[in-house]
Symmetry: C2
Subunit: 366 residues, 2 copies
C-alpha cells in the first residue's frame, strides 16, 4: 500500500473517526483504524461494533493495500505533522511508514482480516436534507433516557411515512418530538427505527452542517447513513418504543409567550442556587408577568421577574429547570410559548406559532 | 453592609480568588470568600491557609460591614448576571441580598469572626518589575518537584541580593535557573525564600501582565506579594534548598544551536511515539545536522532531521523529551543553544547568547 495525501485531509479523516472507536480495549483490534487503498479511493474505517464510521479521503493511490493502526497513536502523530504532503506506505510485514517533510514514522499494524467488516449501502429508501436531519437529532437527543433498564428509551425514535419524518425521544420526565412534512420516502412502506444515543450523537458530529443530503437505509437491526464521503453503520435498538402520543397534552388552556433569551438567562441564573439534589423551580404567572424562583434550604433563594404575554388567571407550577433549559438551548426562535393546564398536568413548550417541534415536560410538585 | 458595584468588576474579583480556596471542605469556612466593605474600599478575601488572596475592587460603599459567602455559589451567581450594576447588601442576621436588574438572590453567610485573618503588608524590602517577576516564575515553575518526600524541592527558590534576583527550581532530573541583574533591594541584607508551587502558580495567574511593579515582603515563614489592588499571602517552605550551583556544568565543550520552533515541533512529533513508560529520545549530532529519534518496542519509531549549527565531532546523547519541551515552551528566543560534554554529563540549555536563563537536564542512558 502506498498513498500520497495532504496532512489536513488525513487529519480531517482520522480525527472524527478515532473518537468513535472502542477505548476500553476489550478487543485490541477495536482500538485500531483500518486504512484501505484501492484503485479508486483511500478510506479510513473505525468501529466499536455498535457504531462504525468509514470516510473516503482525497488521496493519490500509488499502490493498493490495507493495514490497521492504533487509532490514538495515528491521530497523535498526524496532529503534530506540518501542513504538507504525506507519503504513507504499508508493507507486507505490516509496518506502516509515514513520511512528511523531515519526519519519518514507522508503526507496526495489524492485518485487515482481523478487522470487523462494514455493511455496504444498497439502495437507500430515504433521502433527507442533511441539515434537516441534523436539526431533528439536535432537537431530540437531550431527552434520551440514560436509564439502562429502559432499553427502548436509550435512543431516538426515527419514523418516516409518506406524509412526514419525525424523531421522538423521552426519558419519562420529558419528551421531545420534531416533525417535518414532505414527500421523503422513495419506495413503498413506512419505516421506523430506534437509533441509539451514541449513533445519533456521532451522526450529529460527522455529518457536515453545509447544505447536502443524507441517504438513509434501515435494515432489520441496523441503520446506514451515507452522506458525501462518510458512511455510518449503526446497530439499532430492538423493541417497541412506547406510545408517546398519549402523553402530549391536547387540553392546555393557558398560554404564555416569553422571549427565549430572557427565559434562558433567567433560568440559568435561578438555577445557580440549586444544590446537589434537584430543587424545583417555581414558575408563577400573573397578567403580563412571569416570576421564576428557586429555594435551596441550605443556601438561599433566587428570584427573577420577566415580562410576558399572559392573559389568563394566576397560576403557579413547578419544574425541573434543567428540562426547560435543554429545550431552550436547542430551539431556534425569538419567542417561545408554554401551554399549560394545571399544576399537575404536563406542560407543552414550543417556538411561538410553530407546531413542528414540541417538548412536553412533566411538572414537579412544589 | 451595602455596596454598589458593576457586575464585571465583581466577577473579575470573585473569579480568580474562588480558584484559590479550599474545595475539600475540611473546614467549611475555607470554602467561603470574605467580603468586606469599609469606609474606603470593598475587598474580597479567600484562603486555603497555605495561600491567601485579597483583592480590592472598585465599588461604592453605602454602608460598612462584612460577610463570608460560599465561594463557588457566589462565583456561579455573579457569572450569570448581566453586565449591569449590582446592589449587594448583608444584614445583621447574615443574609446577603444580591440585586441586579430583574434578578434577586438571597444567600446565607457566615460571620467574619470565623474567617482566618490575613497579614497586612508592612514595608516591602523588594520592589520588582511585575512582568519580570512573572517571567521568572514562568521560567522555573515547571521544574518544581512533585515528590512529596523531597519537601524543599516542592517550591521555587527565590533569592535576592544587592547584585541580582534569581529563581531556581529542580526535581533532581532537571534544574531551571533565571537571574536578573539590578539594584533591587531597598534596604539591607540579602533575602531567600522557597515559594511553594501553588503560591507561585497563583501569583502567575493573579499578577497582571501589564507593566507595573510588585512589592515583595519576606518574613520568617511567609511571603507577601502586593501589586495594584491584589495582595497574596503565602506560607513559605521551611528548610534548606540544596546546593544547586554544583550541578551546573561549566566544562561543556560542544555547542549546538538550533531554531527553537523547529526543535519544539520535532520533539513534539517524535514524542507521539512514546508510550506510558518514558522512552528516551536520542539526539544524534553530526556536522550541521541534528537527528532526533525515539523507539517504542510496542509501537514503532519516529525520526526527525533538523539543520543546526554544529561544528564538533559526532555525538549521541539521550534525553527525556518532556524536559526539553518544558524548557522550549517557556524560553523566548528564536535560537536556542545546547551545551554538551559527553553522553553521561548534564546538558545545559539556553537561549542563544543569553546566560540569564539556564536549564540543566540530566541525560538518559540509551
Amino acid at each position: 500500500m502506498h498513498i500520497r495525501i495532504s496532512r489536513d485531509e488525513f487529519y480531517g479523516g482520522v480525527g472524527p473517526i478515532q473518537a468513535v472507536v472502542e477505548t476500553k480495549r476489550s478487543l485490541p483490534i477495536l482500538s485500531h483504524l483500518l486504512l484501505e487503498a484501492s484503485a479508486n479511493h483511500f478510506s479510513i474505517f473505525g468501529t466499536d461494533l455498535d457504531v462504525g464510521v468509514r470516510k473516503r479521503l482525497d488521496a493519490q493511490v500509488l499502490k493498493e493495500g490495507s493495514i490497521a493502526l492504533s487509532a490514538r497513536k495515528l491521530y497523535e502523530i498526524i496532529r503534530e505533522l506540518p501542513a504538507a504532503s504525506i507519503e504513507f506506505t504499508a508493507d507486507a510485514d505490516l509496518t506502516a511508514t509515514i513520511t512528511c517533510g523531515t519526519t519519518e514514522f514507522r508503526m507496526k499494524g495489524l492485518p485487515r482480516d482481523d478487522f470487523p467488516s462494514m455493511r455496504e449501502p444498497k439502495a437507500a429508501a430515504i433521502v433527507l436534507d442533511r441539515r434537516l436531519f441534523r436539526d431533528m437529532i439536535r432537537r431530540t437527543l437531550f431527552a434520551v433516557s440514560s436509564d439502562q433498564t429502559r432499553y427502548t428509551l436509550n435512543g431516538v425514535l426515527f419514523k418516516v411515512t409518506q406524509k412526514d419524518a419525525r424523531m421522538v425521544a423521552t426519558d419519562g420526565h420529558r419528551l421531545a418530538i420534531t416533525t417535518h412534512d414532505g414527500d421523503l420516502v422513495k419506495d413503498s412502506g413506512p419505516v421506523e427505527a430506534i437509533i441509539p444515543r451514541k449513533a445519533a450523537a456521532e451522526a450529529l458530529k460527522l455529518l457536515k452542517e453545509e447544505p447536502g443530503e443524507v441517504e438513509i437505509e434501515i435494515g432489520e437491526n441496523h441503520l446506514l447513513l451515507s452522506s458525501d464521503q462518510t458512511l455510518i453503520d449503526a446497530r439499532l435498538i430492538e423493541g417497541q418504543f412506547p406510545n408517546y402520543e398519549q402523553v402530549i397534552p391536547t387540553t392546555a388552556t393557558k398560554q404564555v409567550t416569553v422571549s427565549r433569551d430572557a427565559l434562558l438567562a433567567g433560568l440559568r441564573r435561578t438555577s445557580t442556587i440549586i444544590g446537589e439534589r434537584t430543587t424545583p423551580t417555581t414558575v408563577e404567572l400573573k397578567r403580563g408577568q412571569l416570576l421564576l424562583s428557586c429555594i435551596n434550604l441550605d443556601l438561599g433563594e433566587a428570584r427573577e421577574r420577566l415580562d410576558v404575554e399572559y392573559e389568563h388567571e394566576d397560576m403557579t407550577i413547578g419544574f425541573n429547570a434543567r428540562y426547560i433549559l435543554d429545550f431552550l438551548s436547542v430551539v431556534e426562535a425569538e419567542q417561545v410559548t408554554m401551554h399549560l393546564q394545571d399544576p399537575l398536568s404536563p406542560a407543552l413548550f414550543r417556538a411561538k406559532d410553530d407546531k413542528r417541534y414540541t417538548c412536553v415536560i412533566m411538572p414537579m410538585r412544589i
